[in-house]
Symmetry: D2
Subunit: 284 residues, 4 copies
């Protein structure tokens, strides 16, 4: 254990930063990154801290125990600590569109995404060759009106067995059930093809075309029970004109979708996102 | 009459461009700009053409007559022709916010906006000094629950007497009546402080803050009867983070609002905007 | 022959548009797109026109002959006409970076790029598996100090035999010779990883880091003899901060490079780019 | 003294954050903002911290003394502390262009810029009426080939007498002398009308037009002895096309210039910029 990332939230009060940094210093840690945010409205304090240790300050469990008793309990903190020993497991759900999948796997291949991808799940068989080209197991789990529960059970089984940490919906064209969401709270990342809250739900490019907007967008967010209403992680936009057809919007949108999704995934992997009150704090 | 701008729309069919350009050529005109658009869905053809004439091809009335009989009737065109002899009259409506007003008047002063501004109308007296600094008449017409009709009658009288061509609502915080809108169809330009269709109506920055968006925007559109739902002329956006308060969004938004409004006004003045079916064609 | 795209440039004078559109109309063509530009400084006129024909107006050769005699000679035009019968042949040159290649091949696979890719050429063997995954022939032609001429001869032979129309340098890390450039004038598209003219040549991300810029960019341009100085087709940028390392810039830049290159390639394929005087006209 | 902003830089080592936050906590301060940066290459640590105090922790002088002896000396820090009691004095230098001046004064008027503006200096008399409209003293100090030293002496006298803290060159078309720069190190903010390092020096819009770039920019930076080569504070860009004339670039550029300059000025006023090694750290 030579590097940790610590995420904290608690009621805002004096002395938190001093206490935490003192603790790290006491372990001979060198803080290489600290960022904090205070939600003034709700008086909540958030902090993200990265520390390096010349020599390991002991086991992760000891560290956690001591931090818990010395600091966390005093301030009634919600907190998590991550070490760089663990590579997160990321499951990818897709349907038929391949642009986000190619983009994610290209980044994975080049080492840009520091994750394990135990498998790809799809309700269609179309993208199996892509998965195979990249040497990643592909599970075809069809979802139909009358087999939703079984399909989901099969998904959950696979996720559990592989110890998946988080799920990326890379243009997965199915609504994810409450049960799955509750098992992975703020751990399912979706890409929606509009600048939310404009055009939630189906066919946003059609709606954007009809409304005559001059800008289209894409939004990556954590999935919550309400459709396309979860905490927004990242958004971006591109300009369009009257000359663009719906098909042009779809094509331009694809470039947005893959970039925005990749940014959100990278932020999540580097533990830079904290969700609170249906919004995100995204540390820089 | 040495330069004209011709705007045309009609059912799409063969030969329109050939006929129109032939007509201009027959008048010894040099076409310096031509752009067209076909709305494939509704089979409507749109064209904008600028032509220069070494010597005047006669009076504007003669030109119009001949164009009407030779071309426009044949294709059942909607059309308008503008010469550079006429400087459009632009009325500005404001309330208390001054940033859009300063911006417009600064551009007017420097010659960037080729218009006459016969007066500024406001429901408050606060911005009178700004108007006076720029030497522009200022009419304070308070609008209250019980005097709406009278206030509007006074506005309309001023607009008519000055022969105003179009109206700019530079953060005018009142809803404009159906009667005024009908007198100036697609000639009232509003600036709304969100990327429509997200956050229409009141307090969009508050809503944006609450939703936790990572991008805020501004939208300039023609005013129609439905609030914030008219044809969009121009939009732009800027990034925000969790660290920005509502007040920060308001401040960042001001810079968007003034730029987006100015762009829309300039497009309108240069006759580059055609409205159709609650959308705009914005020629480049 | 049911659809043509016509590109024209000539000295600016009156009547060109009228003559050309009259010609198309005479062939029962329906003009679905027309755009023009006048370079005022050099008095050069540029035009791009797309026309559809209900029934074919005859062979392409006849069309060309007639256009040449009736119109082109009169105005001393440079011109080309393309039909949608021909799919352009696009060769891709790469070295070791794979992000642009994955992106191009993903678009090719999904039908977004309407080209044939006869082969990929590389001075390294690293990306052979990527080419094979997509079922595209891969030629490894090493380039060393002492074999440049032979390597180039081999490249030219392959290009000629396959009847390649244009070449994409997808992060090809070799300088292309004058001979190759002369064989493919304004037909070699490069992606440079800076917002040119800032940071031409090697290691632009290092230079950008050193200068402390707040924005980095990517530029796609036609290759000419002077390094990174050819006509710019497309550029885009992204924001960076003091917190980004050189490695961060490289990673963020990759997303720019692939998008900007893809946009340039698509513009080129759709014949929307005309080069003149070391600049481009990019029709919308 | 109820709020302080502390800026620190020193050699990077362990325990700095712990020591400083402990010190603030010991004074009953509530840290509302902390941000830090480590320049890995040069092993320099930078920190910005804002703290509020329920009751004043004593005089500023006492605070400084204690901080100096307890902390700063130990780590050989460069540091400054600012309280919100002092409103910085900002001098504005202009020539003939009015867009940046209008923009700054509009923001000043509306309370967006928390500064005092003791005067505006210009080498021309043209903008005197603007200054007078806003009620700000205007000094016309002509600069000619043979009076440079006297002009500068007059400028320095005015600056000193008014206790000016920093200077904004709002399109001031004169090169500022070494002497003035040395008196106000990293305290003279310029706006240059290009995305530096592209197109430094005179007539950047002409150069951008000639090169055929698809993006133009503006850059705000601290003035150093080398022209347009000082630490960059903020940049932004806008898209242009082949259809834009030089005059169009100038007009579009004006909107960039004023926004980029205003952002830089606001960052400077809020003490969010630290300059080091000809680059800036800009805290968010």
């Amino acid at each position: 254990m030579h590097k940790i990332t610590l995420l904290i939230s608690c009621k805002d009060t004096q002395g938190i930063i001093a206490s935490v940094t003192r603790f790290i210093y006491g372990k001979n840690g060198n803080i290489v990154y600290i960022d904090q945010h205070v939600d003034m409205e709700h008086e909540v304090f958030f902090m993200r801290l990265e520390s390096q240790f010349g020599e390991s300050p002991g086991t992760l469990d000891d560290f956690k125990n001591e931090f818990s008793h010395t600091i966390a309990e005093k301030y009634s903190m919600s907190w998590e600590v991550h070490t760089d020993d663990h590579k997160p497991g990321m499951a990818v759900f897709v349907s038929k569109y391949d642009h986000c999948l190619y983009d994610l796997l290209g980044r994975y291949n080049s080492g840009e995404l520091r994750v394990d991808i135990p498998f790809i799940i799809s309700n269609h068989n179309d993208l199996r060759p892509v998965a195979e080209n990249f040497g990643i197991p592909f599970h075809h789990i069809p979802v139909k009106r009358d087999n939703k529960e079984e399909a989901e059970a099969e998904q959950l089984k696979l996720l559990r067995e592989a110890g998946v940490d988080f799920i990326v919906l890379a243009r997965y064209m199915q609504i994810v059930s409450e049960k799955l969401i509750n098992q992975y709270p703020h751990k399912i990342i979706n890409i929606h093809h509009s600048f939310l809250p404009a055009f939630p739900g189906a066919k946003p490019y059609h709606s954007a075309f009809k409304r005559g907007v001059k800008i289209i967008g894409a939004t990556s967010h954590y999935v919550t029970e309400e459709l396309d209403a979860g905490p927004i992680i990242e958004q971006d936009i591109t300009r369009v004109t009257h000359a663009h057809s719906i098909q042009d919007l779809v094509m331009k949108g694809r470039d947005l979708e893959k970039i925005v999704l990749a940014r959100a995934v990278k932020l999540h992997i580097s533990r830079k996102v904290m969700a609170h009150n249906n919004k995100t704090i995204v540390f820089s």
